[in-house]
């Protein structure tokens, strides 16, 4: 039992610099704010033209049990939630009142997405990213690269020679590791469902041609319409899709090859978007975030190599030593 607990702690709670998590915070919050923030018009239109929720999501059921629908789910109420969430996002990005602002941003995002999905239409794109956002307030995501950190250093007497080493913590990696596990879980679940439900016929080429043709026509994507006519290419892409989805979890056990899976994930979702219009932008950000920040040694190594390319820069104290 003791050994299991030690292994659990070693996996989820290694002592690392808080810089990686801070980098992930900045990337994730910037993505949420500037790339895939929920549309206010869409929210208001749904609330105004529906007298009731069709399939209310848990957060909406919870809120609606406290606040009446006609008090909060109105143009004024939704506008207020929207702007409070956006303001919290700006604070979370710069790292001011970081934990609180991250919590408000995550809660506001859950509310807005949950509301949009309470009218008989649910999609997967934001789910894992929303969970990741909700983990950040419970981690030292503002301990580096934040105004909070700057103020803390000043209060601690930065001018009187206090340590300039980046803070270290044993709770700075678990949100990233959880994002990795959730992605692996989701990809595996998607892949195994294809094989269990569709069978081997899923890779016959006709299946992917049908799916791509349907999406490309309805979303007016010429590249998708062209791809749907390439039977052999669709066989190869179907096999590639199943292999990627079923084997992504291997990256959990073989960290050295994990970056290739993350790069594969980014390309996979860009490809899905360009050919079928699937807007999994959150998954692109999550894969990019894991590529850049999951392994502190790897990202520091990259930074070090980049710095070596720039003549005249002093060597970093925290640069990884050759093993």
């Amino acid at each position: 039992m003791r050994r299991w607990i030690d292994q659990w702690n070693a996996y989820w709670f290694p002592v690392t610099s808080t810089q990686n998590l801070a980098g992930a915070r900045i990337l994730a919050v910037a993505g949420q704010l500037f790339w895939f923030f929920p549309s206010l018009d869409h929210q208001i239109n749904l609330a105004a033209k529906n007298s009731h929720f069709v399939d209310p999501q848990p957060i909406i059921r919870a809120v609606a049990s406290i606040v009446p629908r006609d008090a909060l789910f109105t143009p004024a109420g939704l506008t207020a939630v929207y702007w409070v969430t956006a303001a919290a996002g700006v604070l979370a990005l710069i790292g001011l009142f970081t934990r609180t602002s991250l919590f408000v941003l995550a809660l506001g995002t859950w509310f807005l997405v949950g509301h949009a999905y309470s009218y008989a239409d649910v999609h997967h794109t934001q789910a894992l990213f929303a969970i990741f956002l909700m983990t950040l307030p419970f981690s030292p995501a503002g301990a580096s690269y934040s105004i909070d950190a700057l103020l803390r250093r000043r209060r601690a007497g930065g001018s009187s020679g206090a340590s300039t080493e980046p803070p270290r913590s044993d709770t700075a990696m678990w949100p990233l590791k959880l994002a990795h596990v959730l992605l692996a879980l989701a990809y595996f679940s998607t892949g195994i469902t294809k094989l269990l439900s569709g069978g081997v016929a899923w890779v016959n080429g006709y299946t992917l041609q049908n799916h791509i043709f349907n999406d490309a026509i309805n979303r007016d994507i010429p590249l998708g319409i062209w791809l749907a006519q390439q039977h052999t290419l669709c066989i190869l892409l179907a096999v590639g899709t199943i292999l990627f989805e079923m084997l992504f979890f291997v990256s959990l056990f073989l960290p050295r090859i994990a970056p290739y899976f993350f790069i594969g994930g980014i390309l996979f979702h860009i490809g899905l978007y360009l050919t079928s219009g699937h807007p999994f932008f959150e998954h692109i950000i999550m894969n990019l975030m894991l590529l850049l920040f999951l392994d502190p040694q790897r990202s520091l190594g990259w930074i070090n190599r980049l710095e070596q390319l720039v003549p005249g820069l002093p060597a970093r104290k925290d640069a990884p030593q050759p093993s």
Partner: protein
């Protein structure tokens, strides 16, 4: 410190455990456990055969004679919900779906008295995409409702 790690460990286990819920209580497309979802996407396979897609649009005529396209935004739904709730049933000659759509739309002052469903099928062939138009289906507002306008 140890207590904090214990709480975080419990949180991790809860988050992972909650993902089993939608799998156990599978709800098909009408999932109500967001953000904990079943990830069965595009799982259906297709045998060799015609590769086809249907495109549909709905046009409405108001009492004053003007025409407008009835879009998902106008109906206050998303595209997939609009398609599944109205377009597909109406294409199968389901007049109840048409009446339901008219009722939904007619909160406006200039009420819609007729809706027309236009449908076409696009088929992928060796020579390109072939288009086939279907007969237009027309639905009129129910008499009892018309009398109340």
């Amino acid at each position: 410190m140890r207590q904090r790690k214990t709480w975080i460990s419990l949180l991790i286990l809860v988050i992972l455990g909650l993902h089993a819920l939608p799998v156990i209580s599978y709800q098909a497309v009408a999932q109500t456990r967001w953000p904990f979802l079943a990830w069965a996407m595009y799982a259906r396979s297709f045998p060799p055969g015609p590769i086809q897609v249907a495109q549909r649009r709905v046009l409405g005529t108001t009492a004053s004679g003007s025409e407008l396209e009835i879009t998902p935004v106008l109906a206050g739904l998303t595209k997939p919900a609009f398609r599944n709730t109205y377009l597909v049933p109406m294409a199968r000659h389901d007049s109840a779906a048409a009446q339901s759509l008219l009722k939904r739309l007619n909160g406006e002052s200039d009420s819609i008295v007729t809706i027309r469903l236009e449908e076409l099928t696009l088929t992928l062939t060796d020579s390109g995409v072939v288009r086939r138009d279907h007969p237009v289906l027309t639905y009129h507002v129910a008499r009892s409702e018309a009398l109340t306008q």
